[in-house]
Structures are given as structure tokens and as C-alpha cells.
Amino acid sequence: MRIPCPFCGLRGHEEFVVDGDATVTRPAPGRPDAPTAAVRFVYLRDNPAGWHREWWFHAFGCERWIVVERDTVTHAVGRVWSAGDPAPGEDR
């Protein structure tokens, strides 16, 4: 698998560390349902067959966390963008 890092270009996946689901968001602190929301954030994951968004860290490159759209069935890589940026074409 090769990943087009937005900063370094197309690189082999060996340079990256994957950290799973990028569709979950850390709940804001202090909300009334904080424990439930935290459990959801930490433990509950979908396991889609098909397109998924994952966090990848370019450990042997620019040390940026990036979102990679990956087809979990074929390993096809779709859009890739940097942490902190909205997905291309989507509002933050």
C-alpha cells in the first residue's frame, strides 16, 4: 500500500503508523454525558467493509498525523488530508 502524504508525496506504508478510526471525535470536556461519550469515543468502532477514514502518522517522514480514506476490502487509497484540516470539499 502506498499513501500520498500531503506533505511528502507518495510513500510506502512502511513509513507510517496507523492508529485506526478517524471518524470518531473526542467529546468536549464537561458535557453532561461525558462518561458515556468517552466510552463511545474510546471503545466503540464500526468495522466497515469498504471506504473508511483512518488516522495515519508519517513517523519516518514529516511526523504529521493525516487522515487517509482507505477501502478496507481492496486497500485502495482515496483522499488524504492533514490533521486539523477539513476533508477536501467539506466544511470543518
Binding site: 492508529d19 470536556p29 468517552a38 474510546v42 471503545y43 488516522w55 502518522f57 490533521a83 486539523g84
Partner: protein
């Protein structure tokens, strides 16, 4: 001993061999000779040696079936001793001077094989034998069957010794990768390369040409090999092209990644210095062109495995390429036109063709099915071959039902050609049976892969050249190169191959489908009767196609037999899945240079050499080598050394290299806020010039790591992490900064490698450091108190950092210097400290002292413990958000029943403790239900003179003074221990303040 390069079977002229040179080689201890250009197989055939192996299960005599990588029979061991390599097909071994090969699967010799009696009992080894046998009494299996089967059924022997050869991994990138340098591949490479695209052409053979090497064909009115040579020369003249010979593309992976095995040293006995025996390429190609050709399939009839029965195309290859006749009186049997060319080439070479037997009625044959006058042609099939160690005759059953017997010394058979589509299916693509082409074809080609030539069922030369050119230029254009169409040389128009699926024989035991795994047509029929009627089930039940040849000459016949046995059509039966590798790959090639101590990198702290000079014994901690102890003459073991080192620290001063601790530099206006969020401990109140112990939690509330936070400036911090946690913690911090809080103004850099750090510990540590720092710097308590942090300049001008922290409980400092100054600074510490009694101390002393002080380390921060479990709840008392704060408050984690950290001492002070021992209340049964905790770290305490331990125990705080059993069934050692408070040594921390 005959050592002439070709007794009898070698033709007087022709072939791609160099008759001016003779190469001597040995097979099973006997000397032979051949020529450059020979393979081991062709050189043996030149001497009339057909029988070269015994079969895997029944130990039947086996000969050379093919002339290529598909060979299922002629597997040999190459070399001797630690350099022995098993299971190499003799058909792919290039002959070299001094080659030494041994046959396999025979004992005591190829000629007299005692296990050939297996043949007599073959009814005991039917399909599914292995599964059925497992149902027998287990003890019987272990003691009787398995050892016997293992001894009987080895496929060659591994040497059992370290391989002296070297292997390497290499990486490559190209626009177009062409697999196979036959006519289609050469045309594709040329078409793409002339556009300027970066092209790799990989060919498994030692020569380009593919089938052209084995045929007598013309291109542009000249022998085809002239065109091959000119094309290769043009390709190799281009700087953008790389031609790899002896290289097989063994796997295709997502992202256009291909694994290519290059047998660098395949043509010589000894690799050149520094030259690898094999190289495994990892090549990234924007587009792939598969021109891997096709493999001829055998016919299935009784005794079809006798030596002397070869594939018709292989007989042609031996005659035309190697100038060797596989037989003088040959019967050609076929289900396609192609084998008729074998008959013609044999006649031209002077052999006699006793009969051509074609399964197809005359009307179904194509224009290629013609024979010179005088050759008997029969419509029918082979029923049974006769002979013992070599075919002597064959019974031919005519379509009319009449049977006749024909004497012969070889049979050239062809059941048609099967495209080599493995690479096209490695990513899960499916194949379907193409009834028109009579072969499998991909349901669809992936966008970054195309096929040309025989691999697409285009079996003619003209079609191969045209398709290759089209694929090559097409790929280049699709990638944005300006490719012009190739002007193709003139060739004879193609004749269709006109194959029909070969008819399988009736259920006779010795009609083989899979030569290498000894699977017969009867096995297939038995499997179907027992309900294994799907192709994948049949494969697993009979092991058909599961040998090292991966079914290259057996899968198709197995499917045909399955279709016949179940009354289904091939269209309904999917082929079994192909998985990488296409051909066997040595473990050595996969490992490359990553073997022994090079399995992974070894990291050395920058002052490693100083410790080595001091006689340190090193220990691996993760990738690091760290000093464990510094033994001296007279020590009775590591314990003596450790005790001396601890005593030195407690009484004078010791120095320990702690450079492996992770270090992260944090800067920015929001650095305090950032650290407040990532640490469970309070950071906001940390003053400039101060350092603090701090805990980091994971989001699930468990402790992730511990370390120190030093504030070097208003917006400048330096964190330390554990050695083992350095990489993960840094990645986690980057996650927090970039993903969770991208709006904070903070930057991080790992500076683990940039700074060396030394613990200087003991009552005389201040005195020692005073001798190192620039004159005038006062390290006395008011100026540099406990938990002070700051920059200092050393006497030699080094800009250093000093932290007054202590892991051992003594007056202690950690001195950090830039890595380049590490060596001289450490040396200077020992020089300056000599009058003070300084000594180095290693990990053993460090560990013993931290246990004496009750400090937790990796054994306690094991991912399953909370701050409260560790007795460190006081470090996490703060409000507000931080990573893990919410889930740390879960009721389950606040449960008072959770085991908490406590100290333990043996009631009998002479007794030793063992880490991992489980804690059980006195009188309770010693079982998991009564397990109340465990010892996590133990050490002999030189200060107290007995063993001590840290561990986790339920309600530990209430149980100080209680005696419990430390149950250690693993070591068979139980100890009565007493629960005590920690620290064990200097509980009030008086020594810490000096």
C-alpha cells in the same frame, strides 16, 4: 566413468550451447559433463539420464517432465553441508563447473529405494489420508505415524546450519513493469521504453526470448533470436530501462507493488565477494504488463509419470535449445495442434516418431496438425504406459475401441497450454473459463495491469508481438508519455491452437494428476464420492496443487477431472485461488540482511564506548544496548557487582548512563496549557527552573507512562519519558497536538538522540559535579535545591543542563549534554570522581535501588494499572480536562477491591522472591479463584541484606503487617511474605536532600 558432454542423446550441432567449453558436474556422486547453456536437466538428458527423483508419497521413479519452473518431479538438492539448498528444479539450474546435485526422496539410493514398497500399499494412502489419520488414537499418531511419515515424505532436506550465503532486499520504481521477456514482453517493453517511460523487464530465464528459445521460428525473415538479441540490446542501451534476468515476479500487491526474486548467483558455484545469492526486489510500478506466457499441461493416463514421458513443448525445447533428444523413438500424444510441431522437430533432429495420437477427430484439428509422410497418426488416447524406470511402450486406445501397443523410449504429451495468470489474481481478482480460447482468463483486468500474448490465450507469435506492442505503448500513453506505434517485423501468420480439454482416464490408480504431491485421478474421484466436490475442497482434501509447484501442471487437469466426475462444465468450476509467491522463495531472500543480530537495528547511547571500556556487560532493552553491570575481578557473579555498585552510590557516588530515556522538547505560548491537558499531573503550577514528576494517562484512564517535566523557560519545557515508551509517547503527543488540539500554539521535537544524560548519584555527587562545572557555579541547596532544573556550563565549555532529580533516593542529579559531548563528559566524570570513589553503575543496581525506594517502572506501569493502583493518586488530583481524566473516574477503576501497590519482604529473610508469583491469603486454596495479586518487581536489596519486592495486592493499604503466600508454580517455589509499606529504604527521604 563417462564424462563426455553428451553420450548418445546430444545432437551433433545446433542449440544454444557452447560446445567449445566443457563443464564437469556431479549428480548423486557420479561425474558427468555438459556445456555452458545447459541446465542440469538438459545435461542429464544428454547422458540419457531420465530417472532423477522418487515421488513424494509412493516413491515411484520419476523423470524430467518439463523444461522450466513448472517442474514437479526433478527437484534436487544443490551443494553440500551448510550451503545445501533443497527442492530446486533441475530444469532451472544453470550448469556450472563443479555443480554438485543430489536426488531427493530416496533412501538409500535412487536406484534401490526401500520405501518404494509404499507403492504396494498405496491403498493405505488414499485421498484425505492425513485427515483420516488424525481420527485414529492420538497417541498412536504421535508415536508411530507422524515420525514415520515425516521420515518417509520429506521434500529435500534443509541443512540445519546457518546459511553462509548472503541475501538482500532492494527497492525499485518504474513506470511500466513488464513481466516476461518472450515476444509479447519484449514488444511491450520496447513500445513503452521508446516513449521515454522508465521500464523494467524481468525474465525468469537466464536469457530473454521465452518460447522463442525453444522453437524454430523466424521474425522478419531471420531466426527469431536475432530479433530478440537486437531488441534486448536496444532496451539495454536506454538509461531508463532495466532488464533483469533470472528474476521472477513472485507477488503482486496493492499500490502497484511487485515482489521480484532475482537469483543473482544462480550460474555459479560461489558468489563473488559481497554479492548476494538472491535479491528480493520490492518494485513499485505505475503500470504492469503481464507477458508471463503459458505452461503446457500433461495428459492423464496410467503410468503417465514414468521417466521418459515429457511435455511435448519440453521435448521441443530440449531438441532445439539444448540439442538433446529426450528419446529416439517417440510417441507424441496431444489434444492440440501444438504438439504436432514436436513431431516435426524430432524428425528433423533425426529421431523417429512412432505415432502421433490426437484425442480430437481429424475434423476438429487445425492447420498446425500435419505430419510428414510415414508418421502413423491415430485418433484416440493413451491408455497405459509400460516400463519400470523408463517408458518402454505405450498402449494406444483408438477412438474405434481398438487397442494397440507401440514400443517407444519417450512420450511427448500435450494437454494444451494454461496461461500463467497468477499475478493477475493476487489481489483477489477472479478467473473464468473462456470456452473459445479453452483456457482461464481474468473476469476483468485491473486498471493498472494488462496482459499480452499467451497469458491472454493469444498463442501465436504474430498475436503476441502485436498485443505486446499495443500494451506497451498503451501503458506509456496512459501514463502521459508520447508513444509511437511500433513497426512490427513480419512473421508467419498464426495458426489457432485448437485445443480441447484433455480427456481424463478412467479410475486407475497410477494415472497422475499432480506429480509432486502424488495425487491420482482415483484420488480425485474418491474425494468427489466423499463429498469434496468443490474445487477448493478437492484441493485441500487431496492436496492437489498444494506442492511447491503450486499446481502449475496439475490444477487444470484436476479441475477437468472434477468436472467429469461431477458432470459439471468447467465454466461452473472456479479455479482455486492463487496466492503469492508464484514460485518458491527462500526464507533467506525474505529475511535479506535482517538475520542474527541484524534482525533489527541496535541502538547505542552516544557514550556506549566508555561503558564498554569499563568492562560493562550489556543487556538488550528494546532496541537499546544498556550496561547491566560492571563486573570486576573476584566477583562471583552479577549479584556481587550489583551490590558493590549500589553500595558505592549509597556511600560515595555512582554514575549511570540514562541517555536512552525519551526526551521531548516542547515550546510555544500554549505549552503550559498543552502539557496540562496531556499529563494527569498538575503542570500549570510548575515554575521556571523547576522539574516535576508527572504521570501521563491513556484516554481509557490507565497510566501510559511516567517521567519528568522540566520548565526551562516561560514557554519552553523538556519532558522525559521511559526508555520503552519514548516512541509511543512522542507519537501520542503529536496526536494530541495535531488531532485533538490543533489550535494550540505549541511545537514538539524529539531530542532523545540529541542529548546524552547521566545520573550522578550519591552523597558525594554534588562534590563531583562541582569539579565539572565552570568555576563559580554554586550547586549548594539554596541555589540548586531538590527539583531544580537549569542550564550550566561545564569547565570545558560544554553547554549542559542539570536536573536535581533522584531515582535512587540519594542526593542525585541528572546531567544532560549534547550527544557529541557525551563521550568526553562521561570520561571526565570518572576522572574527576576517582578521588571521590566514583564507580559506574548499571541497570541491575538502578533497578534494585528504585525498588528499595518503591518507585514504579515498566513492570508496574504495564498498561493495566491506574494511578491509584500505583499508589500515585496524589499526582493526579486536579480538576479540568486532561487525557484519560473522564474514564479514570469510572466506577470500575475506583473500586477499592482493585489490587494496589505494596511492598513485600520474605518472612524468612534468607528466602528469595520471584517476580510473577501470585499472592494468596494464608490458608486459602492456591488457585485462580483465590488469587489476590502478584509480585511485579523483585530485587536483592544490598542496603537491607535481603530480598524485597513490589507487587499488587487487594486492599493492600489495610493489610500492612499481614502475611500472605507468594505462590510461584512456574519456578516451583513458594514464599511466605509480609506486606510492608514503601519505600523500604529511607522512608522519610532524608538522604534525598543530602
Amino acid at each position: 566413468m563417462s564424462a563426455r558432454p553428451g553420450a548418445g542423446a546430444r545432437l551433433a550441432d545446433g542449440g544454444l550451447i557452447d560446445r567449445t567449453r566443457t563443464l564437469r558436474f556431479r549428480f548423486d556422486g557420479r561425474e558427468y559433463a555438459g556445456h555452458p547453456g545447459d541446465t542440469l536437466a538438459s545435461a542429464l538428458l544428454a547422458h540419457g539420464v531420465h530417472r532423477v527423483a522418487r515421488s513424494f508419497k509412493y516413491h515411484r521413479s520419476r523423470g524430467i517432465l518439463s523444461a522450466g519452473f513448472e517442474e514437479p518431479n526433478a527437484l534436487v538438492e544443490l551443494g553440500e553441508g551448510d550451503a545445501r539448498v533443497p527442492n530446486t528444479p533441475a530444469t532451472t539450474i544453470e550448469l556450472f563447473e563443479g555443480l554438485d546435485a543430489q536426488s531427493q526422496n530416496r533412501w538409500p539410493s535412487l536406484r534401490f529405494d526401500l520405501r518404494a514398497v509404499n507403492r504396494l500399499f498405496s491403498a493405505l494412502l488414499p485421498a484425505g489420508f492425513y485427515y483420516k489419520t488424525f481420527m485414529w488414537p492420538a497417541a498412536f499418531w504421535e508415536r508411530v505415524y507422524e515420525p514415520a511419515i515425516r521420515r518417509a515424505a520429506g521434500l529435500g532436506r534443509a541443512s540445519g546450519a546457518p546459511d553462509p550465503a548472503t541475501y538482500e532486499r532492494s527497492y525499485g520504481f518504474c513506470d511500466v513493469l513488464v513481466v516476461g521477456a518472450g515476444p509479447a514482453g519484449l514488444a511491450a517493453a520496447l513500445g513503452a521504453a521508446r516513449s521515454g517511460a522508465r521500464v523494467w523487464l524481468v525474465e525468469a530465464d537466464c536469457r530473454a526470448g521465452g518460447r522463442l528459445l525453444a522453437e524454430r521460428l523466424a521474425i522478419g525473415g531471420e531466426p527469431a533470436l536475432r530479433w530478440v538479441e537486437a531488441t534486448v540490446a536496444e532496451l539495454e542501451s536506454m538509461p531508463t530501462v532495466r532488464v533483469l534476468r533470472r528474476a521472477t515476479a513472485v507477488g503482486r500487491y496493492d499500490g502497484g507493488v511487485y515482489a521480484i526474486l532475482e537469483r543473482v548467483g544462480a550460474d555459479r558455484a560461489q558468489s563473488a565477494p559481497f554479492e548476494p545469492r538472491e535479491r528480493l526486489w520490492h518494485v513499485v510500478a505505475r503500470h504492469g504488463v503481464l507477458a508471463s506466457g503459458a505452461i503446457e499441461q500433461p495428459l492423464v493416463f496410467e503410468n503417465n509419470d514414468l521417466p521418459g514421458i515429457l511435455l511435448a513443448g519440453a521435448v521441443r525445447a530440449y531438441a532445439n535449445r539444448y540439442a538433446v533428444l529426450a528419446g529416439r523413438r517417440v510417441v507424441v500424444a496431444t489434444s492440440c495442434d501444438d504438439a504436432w510441431a514436436t513431431a516435426r522437430d524430432l524428425l528433423r533432429a533425426g529421431a523417429s516418431v512412432e505415432a502421433i495420437v490426437d484425442q480430437r477427430p481429424a475434423a476438429a484439428r487445425g492447420p498446425g496438425a500435419w505430419a510428414p509422410d510415414g508418421v502413423p497418426v491415430e485418433t484416440g488416447w493413451l491408455r497405459r504406459a509400460r516400463g519400470r524406470d523408463r517408458v518402454r511402450a505405450v498402449e494406444i486406445e483408438a477412438a474405434s475401441g481398438r487397442t494397440r501397443r507401440v514400443a517407444c523410449d519417450a512420450i511427448a504429451m500435450s494437454g494444451g497450454w494454461a496461461p500463467q495468470l497468477q499475478l493477475a489474481t493476487h489481489l483477489g481478482e477472479r478467473l473464468r473459463w473462456d470456452g473459445a480460447a479453452q483456457c482461464f482468463a481474468p473476469e476483468s483486468w485491473p486498471p493498472d495491469l494488462s496482459g499480452a500474448g499467451a497469458v491472454c490465450g493469444e498463442f501465436g507469435l504474430a498475436a503476441a508481438l502485436a498485443a505486446g506492442a499495443r500494451c506497451g505503448t498503451g501503458a506509456a500513453r496512459a501514463l502521459g508519455f508520447r508513444a509511437t506505434d511500433l513497426v512490427l517485423p513480419a512473421v508467419e501468420p498464426d495458426r489457432p491452437l485448437q485445443t480441447v480439454p484433455s480427456r481424463a482416464a478412467r479410475a486407475v490408480r497410477a494415472a497422475f494428476v499432480d506429480w509432486q504431491n502424488d495425487v491420482t485421478i482415483a484420488d480425485v474421484q474418491l474425494a468427489v464420492r466423499e463429498g469434496f466436490a468443490a474445487s477448493e475442497h478437492l484441493k485441500r482434501y487431496t492436496t492437489l496443487g498444494m506442492a511447491t509447484d503450486q499446481g502449475k501442471t496439475s490444477s487444470l487437469n484436476g479441475l477437468i477431472a472434477l468436472a467429469e466426475a461431477t458432470g459439471r462444465r468447467l465454466e461452473e468450476l472456479g479455479p482455486t485461488t492463487h496466492r503469492p509467491p508464484v514460485v518458491p522463495v527462500t526464507i533467506g531472500a525474505l529475511a535479506g540482511r535482517h538475520r542474527g543480530r541484524h534482525y533489527r537495528p541496535t541502538r547505542l547511547p552516544p557514550a556506549h564506548a566508555v561503558a564498554a571500556d569499563l568492562g560493562a556487560v550489556f543487556v538488550e532493552t528494546g532496541p537499546w544496548l544498556r550496561a547491566q553491570v560492571f563486573p570486576r575481578a573476584g566477583d562471583r557473579g552479577w549479584l556481587d557487582a550489583m551490590c558493590r555498585e549500589v553500595n558505592t552510590v549509597r556511600r560515595a557516588v555512582g554514575v549511570c548512563d540514562v541517555s536512552t530515556l525519551g526526551k521531548v522538547d516542547v515550546q510555544g505560548a500554549d505549552a503550559p496549557e498543552f502539557l496540562e491537558r496531556v499529563y494527569a499531573s498538575r503542570i500549570a503550577t510548575l515554575a521556571i527552573g523547576r522539574v516535576r514528576y508527572a504521570l501521563m494517562r491513556r484516554e481509557d484512564g490507565f497510566v501510559m507512562d511516567d517521567g519528568t517535566v522540566a520548565r526551562l523557560g516561560e514557554r519552553h519545557y523538556l519532558l522525559s519519558t521511559t526508555t520503552a515508551g519514548a516512541v509511543d509517547v512522542y507519537r501520542h503527543l503529536q496526536y494530541c497536538r495535531q488531532v485533538l488540539w490543533p489550535d494550540l500554539d505549541v511545537r514538539l521535537a524529539s531530542v532523545t538522540d540529541q542529548w546524552a544524560q547521566f545520573a550522578v548519584a550519591g552523597p558525594r555527587s554534588r562534590e563531583l559535579l562541582g569539579r565539572l562545572v565552570e568555576p563559580g557555579i554554586d550547586l549548594a541547596d539554596p541555589q540548586f535545591p531538590l527539583l531544580a532544573a537549569g542550564s550550566v556550563r561545564l569547565g570545558d565549555g560544554t553547554a549542559a543542563r542539570l536536573f536535581r532529580v533522584s531515582f535512587c533516593g540519594e542526593l542525585a542529579y541528572e546531567l544532560a549534554v549534547p550527544a557529541r559531548a557525551a563521550h568526553r563528559t562521561l570520561e571526565r566524570l570518572f576522572e574527576a570522581g576517582a578521588p571521590l570513589g566514583v564507580a559506574p553503575y548499571g541497570l541491575e543496581a538502578l533497578g534494585a535501588m528504585r525498588i528499595e525506594k518503591g518507585h514504579v517502572a515498566g513492570n508496574e506501569i504495564n498498561g493495566q494499572t491506574t494511578a491509584a493502583d500505583l499508589g500515585l493518586g496524589r499526582w493526579t488530583t486536579k480538576d479540568g480536562d486532561s487525557v484519560g481524566a473522564v474514564l479514570a473516574r469510572r466506577p470500575g477503576l475506583a473500586d477499592p477491591q482493585r489490587p494496589r501497590l505494596a511492598g513485600f519482604v520474605p518472612v524468612d529473610r534468607a528466602q528469595r522472591l520471584g517476580a510473577g508469583a501470585h499472592l494468596i491469603a494464608l490458608g486459602a486454596p492456591r488457585d485462580a479463584a483465590h488469587d489476590e495479586g502478584y509480585l511485579s518487581s523483585v530485587a536483592y536489596s544490598p542496603t537491607l541484606g535481603h530480598w524485597i519486592g513490589l507487587g499488587f495486592l487487594r486492599r493492600a493499604a489495610e493489610r500492612v503487617g499481614e502475611r500472605v503466600l507468594a505462590h510461584d508454580p512456574l519456578r516451583g517455589r513458594d514464599a511466605l511474605v509480609e506486606v510492608v509499606e514503601t519505600p523500604f529504604v529511607d522512608p522519610r527521604g532524608e538522604r534525598l536532600r543530602g
